[in-house]
Structures are given as structure tokens and as C-alpha cells.
Amino acid sequence: VHELSLAMGACRIVEDTVGSDRLGRVRTVGVVVGAHSGVEIESFRFCMETLLAQPPFEAAALELEHTGGDELRVDYLEVEDADSED
């Protein structure tokens, strides 16, 4: 039942990683959810997708990876790289 606060925690990790002014450039948030993490996956997915669809995010996608353990972590981000020269 605390999936929303977990989802908000995940978004805070994203913000701490990329900086609050660059959340609009986040394209993918990869989260690992273990079967024994105590998280109700569908509810967590719903909360995450709701948060990622609204400002300061701009349609970031969620990639959930399921494992058999008890881990629950933000694994990786894909961000549009404005600083790159390519």
C-alpha cells in the first residue's frame, strides 16, 4: 500500500541524479523490482507511470525488470544528452 511513496522516492533518486532542471530530458527510468521486495508491482507501475507522465517529467518511460530476490532499486536512466558534441 506504500507504492506511491516508493514511486515518489524513485523519482527523487532520478532528480538527485540528473538535477531538477533536467528531468524533462529523462527518457527512460529503469527500476529493478524483486518478487520478495514487498511491492505490489501493478500498483507501483501505475504510480510510477503517473508521476513520469507529468511535469517536471516529459513523458519519461518506465522499464521494470523483475527478479526473484528482494531488491528494489533505480537501476539506470536514459537521458537526452544536450552536453554531448555528437
Binding site: V1, H2, S5, L6, G9, A10, R12, I13, V14, T17, V18, R27, G30, G38, E71, L72, R73, V74, D75, Y76, L77, E78, V79, E80, D81, A82, S84, D86
Partner: protein
Amino acid sequence: MPIRRIEVREKLMARNDELAAQVRSRLAASGVAALNLVSSPGSGKTALLERTLSALCPELRMAVISGDVQTENDAERLARHTDRLVQAVVTGGACHLDARQILTALDEVDLEDTDLVFIENVGNLVCPASWDLGEAAKIVIFSVTEGEDKPLKYPRMFERSEVVVLSKADLLPHVPFDPVLAMEYARRINPGLRFFRTSSVSGEGLEDWFGFLRERVRDQATEPA
């Protein structure tokens, strides 16, 4: 625009765990034991605390942090049994207490003048199992008006607790609850569990519970911080 991948690998509970570690070290520095009381709603956490405060004040210096989704009713009930601090934490909808709330609540507690902190968690056998509050131990209050199979239904809570208090024992003659079976189920989940059988109405078993609390306070005080 090119897409850059950033490895994060940060646990979602990392922030709470960090704060819980701060709670733990603050308590340890003052030799204070903290017990996190968890249960389903209506199992008798507050009643057990009322009896405990009445019987053990002023022998033990106890503070209570009492969490509820709404109202400060429990904290008000408890405050009648002690001159010491009883703090209400209203979670405003959240189904558990988190370590930040405990850290904030501890700011108001004079830890040098405290032996024992009770944390009365929100009545809920699911979520509080996931949130470390920096306590020395979780204690499940399991009333005899519930089903014996509670431990099988909510294994995580029983797995993470050290002690089970079988409460409302005065009702045993009137309910079909089999305490032996309940203990067997609980031990199946966590063989190391210690049990107390109490009644906050008749007083049955409370001396053993008080003995356990005195023991925890002694152990915590002698443990090197």
C-alpha cells in the same frame, strides 16, 4: 539528440535506511533501547502500553512515539499514564511510520534521561515490515481474536520481529483460537521468536513482559555504544 545511459543502482529504501542508521546511532550513544510495536489494528498495542507505563513508571524512564493515520487519540490515552513525553505522529494517510518521522520525534526526547523508547506503529501488518525505524527490535502484538494463521498470511512481519505478544489472553475461553497452533505457525516463519502471553484486562503474563523490558534496558545500557 543522443541518449546517454546513466547507471544509478540506488536502492529505494536507501534514504530511509540511512536515516534509520542515524536513529540507531543516536539511541546507542545514550544507551537507549527502542522497541517498534507492530500489529494489525485493534490488537491491543495501546492497552499494553497503558499497562506498561502505569506499572513501570518511574522505575524505567520511558518515552512513547505513537503513530496513527488520523487522530492523536492513542497519544492522549497514553499521556494519562506518564509524566514523560508521549508524542503523536499523525501520518495523514500513510500506512506506516518512516525513519525520518522517528528522527524528528527524537529531537523532542531527552535521551540522556530516557531508558526506553516505544514506537507504536500504525496498525498494519504489511507496510511497517518494510521500514526500518532504527529500533532495537520489532515486536508483533498478535491478539487471540485474530486467526492462528496470521503469521502465514503476513510472513514478512513475523520474519523481521524478535518477539510475539499474544494479547487479549483473557478472551481465550470465549474464542476458538489455539495458541499452540499460532505459535507453531509463527515459529515456522521465524524459529527464533520469543513469546509472551498477556492480558491487559486481567494482568495475566504482564510480569513476564515487564521482565523482558527490564532485561532489554539492562542489555542496551551495558552495550558499548
